[in-house]
């Protein structure tokens, strides 16, 4: 059957199992949108307020499900508006296919209206990208894009399709869904070496990252920790991968990690890293990071081994398979002294937390907000965040009940990510969705409230409003002598009125009682609901491992 390029694009998306796409029409994708109209029974298109929102929505869709998220934008400004969203997906290894239209081949290179070399622009922020020169390569290029996006270490792929290719026609035969290219299995000798290192270890620490977040290894990791008497910590991206209802789980480590998790990682004699890349936010100063520790790193990406930290053993390949084989090979052992030491650290951590709670003077503290969220949130709730203090509090306090319930921009730290991502993750899961944001982040892309209202997405928006850019302010307080340069917002925005103007609803919460009432109300609202949650501008995210510092420099209280 002969189809146009635009029809082939949509047919190939359908063939690849895509049921939802996010995007925004424009001159050079008008044919694609015409084809979308034709296939609207088979593929749902969510029209966002801005292309950036579409990219974040595709990303959120993927994080919550593991499926490849898809976004569409027109040439020029449409395409460049995707850039931040694509980079966000790249830094967190999120599978995504971004489709852009471009001017026809005959106008390429002539600085035509809305012409941009988007493959050039996105080269360093995509896993791979394509400019489809002729129609005969279109379908296979798209299939290849899906294969690359989801295979190995996942990531975003951009496919740029000039208008003449969308208009041309050619014979099209649908094919099956392209399967992930299987990762190589690690050599048995390496598994044996890993097991031998674990057998020798007296202070083992299992370190789980984003690479394990979607694997569903959680229970097995806990069982393995019990077998070898180890503790478990995670990176920011590894949150929600591990069941939290066990006392071996110490939570996130790193710059704003839990004290016991960061310190015990540094005191461990062995770290078993599962899908972690030892980012600078996780390690602090690498020259001082875990100096007495042997590291085993399981990762699908060969370039991650020895990139940020020197490791004793790098196992490149199928992480899931490597972990299971190591777990099987290792015998049971017990490390009572290690567990005692960790217990001591946890007691210290509890003391800091009690001190902090006692020192709190505000009517509503972040901790109280999260206590309510933990108590009142429904099962399977997807927690989405923006970027800043609220994000770190979420990472520290929220209890996740299953994997893929934490949707947050880790590597790129994209303020304005949250609302689009929440729209995407809700579209994918239809599960209860809570967006935790701040007044700074929310201000960046709040236009997507229009999208949430239009598509009836009942996202609960907990807007932690402190009137300042809290994270930068915290640094200014600690390291810049309280010179609050451009971090005091002093805006007069009435967020409740704003929510209502968009067709959403909202209220103000200033105390724990008010917040609990508001949160319950928001869950029942059945539409986007903004809780303007007033917190103090001088709340800190603690502990804090200062930039360039080590665990010896952890700040646990404000003077």
């Amino acid at each position: 059957m002969k189809l146009t390029g635009a029809q082939i694009l949509i047919q190939t998306l359908i063939e690849q199992g895509v049921t939802d796409v996010f995007g925004y029409p424009g001159g050079q994708v008008i044919n694609i949108y015409d084809a979308l109209y034709e296939y609207k029974d088979q593929i749902n298109h969510v029209l966002t307020a801005h292309e950036q929102g579409a990219a974040h929505a595709a990303d959120g869709y993927s994080r919550a499900t593991g499926k490849v998220g898809v976004c569409i934008a027109t040439s020029g400004p449409g395409a460049t508006n995707l850039v931040t969203g694509i980079a966000t997906a790249m830094l967190d290894s999120i599978p995504m296919v971004a489709i852009t239209g471009n001017v026809p081949n005959s106008l390429i290179g002539k600085d035509s209206f809305q012409e941009i070399d988007i493959t050039g622009v996105t080269m360093p922020i995509t896993k791979h990208n394509y400019f489809v020169k002729t129609i005969d390569e279109l379908a296979d290029t798209l299939r290849q894009a899906f294969s690359i996006a989801k295979s190995g270490r996942p990531g975003p792929v951009l496919v740029d399709i000039p208008k003449d290719v969308q208009l041309a026609s050619i014979e099209f035969t649908p094919q099956g869904v392209v399967e992930k290219i299987p990762l190589p299995k690690v050599d048995e000798s390496l598994i044996e070496q890993a097991a031998a290192l674990i057998a020798q270890a007296e202070r083992p620490y299992i370190y789980v990252g984003g690479g394990a977040a979607g694997l569903g290894l959680g229970q097995e990791v806990v069982a393995f920790a019990e077998k070898i008497d180890a503790v478990i910590g995670c990176s920011f991206m590894g949150l929600s991968a591990i069941p939290q209802n066990n006392d071996r789980f110490l939570g996130m480590q790193g710059m704003h990690g839990h004290y016991a998790s960061s310190v015990s990682q540094n005191e461990a004699d062995l770290i078993l890293g599962i899908g972690v890349r030892f980012s600078d936010r996780a390690t602090g100063n690498v020259a001082k990071f875990a100096k007495k520790t042997k590291i085993i790193q399981l990762d699908p990406d060969c370039a991650e081994i020895n990139k940020n930290v020197r490791v004793e053993l790098g196992l490149v390949g199928d992480v899931e398979d490597s972990f299971r084989r190591i777990a099987k090979k290792c015998g049971a052992k017990s490390n009572p002294q290690w567990l005692d030491r960790v217990r001591e650290l946890k007691q210290e951590e509890e003391r800091f937390e009690e001190d902090l709670a006692l020192a709190a003077k505000a009517a509503l503290t972040p901790k109280q907000v999260f206590d309510v969220i933990n108590a009142e949130k429904l099962p399977a709730t997807v927690i989405v965040t923006d970027v800043g203090q609220h994000q770190m509090w979420t990472a520290q306090y929220v209890e996740f009940d299953r994997p893929r319930r934490f949707v947050s921009s880790g590597g790129l730290g994209t303020m304005g990510f949250g609302l689009g991502a929440a729209i995407g993750s809700y579209t994918a899961t239809k599960d209860p969705t809570v967006l935790i944001t701040g007044d700074g982040s929310f201000g960046m892309n709040l236009n997507e409230l229009a999208t949430a209202v239009t598509y009836n997405i009942p996202v609960v928006i907990v807007l932690m409003n402190n009137g300042v850019l809290g994270m930068v302010r915290q640094w200014q307080t600690l390291f810049f002598g309280k010179r609050y340069s451009n971090t005091v917002l002093e805006r007069k925005t009435d967020f409740v009125a704003l929510a209502k103007a968009f067709g959403a609803d909202g209220c103000v919460a200033e105390t724990p009682v008010e917040f609990r009432k508001a949160f319950k109300e928001a869950i029942k609202a059945g539409k986007p609901y903004v809780i303007d949650t007033r917190i103090d501008k001088d709340e800190f995210v603690l502990p804090m491992l200062p930039p360039g510092g080590s665990v010896d420099d952890i700040i646990t209280r404000v003077k």
Partner: protein, 166 residues
Amino acid sequence: MENKKFILAVYVENKAGVLTRVTAMFTRRGFNIDTITAGETEDKGYTRITLCLRGDEYVREQVISQLKKLYVVKKVELIEDDPIQRELMLIKVRNSSEHRNDIMAAVDVFRASVIDYSAEGMCIEVTGNPSKIDAFVKLMKPFDILEMCRTGIVALDRGETTLLSK
């Protein structure tokens, strides 16, 4: 760690924009390239890029791993142990009666050849190991170098092994 010179041979798909993808990786990761050459291979579908860089073991390991991740790269190989390496240079020097004999003597000793000759200048072609080229440039310096260009290194392993068979 020691900063050593090393040579990489990279087999890439012969497609538009491939060289950009390879060099963009170096910009993105902050690695410097000393010389880069690209050209046809025995297989029409592939281009061979020869890169000459300096760096310690970390740089060497990272550059190779990061190159391997590029979808257009078929094979990356560190060319080690005294490979056959050649570079070509065209150099234009001032032709003066005072220095002509010295220049011609150098051309003779270096087995270079004069490929253009005019009253005011001559153009010399030199091929050889990069260190030989360096030595020739040094020799020409006092004679007023007008212009020069070097191709960068091309290299092959000795013996019958090929990059793709390794």
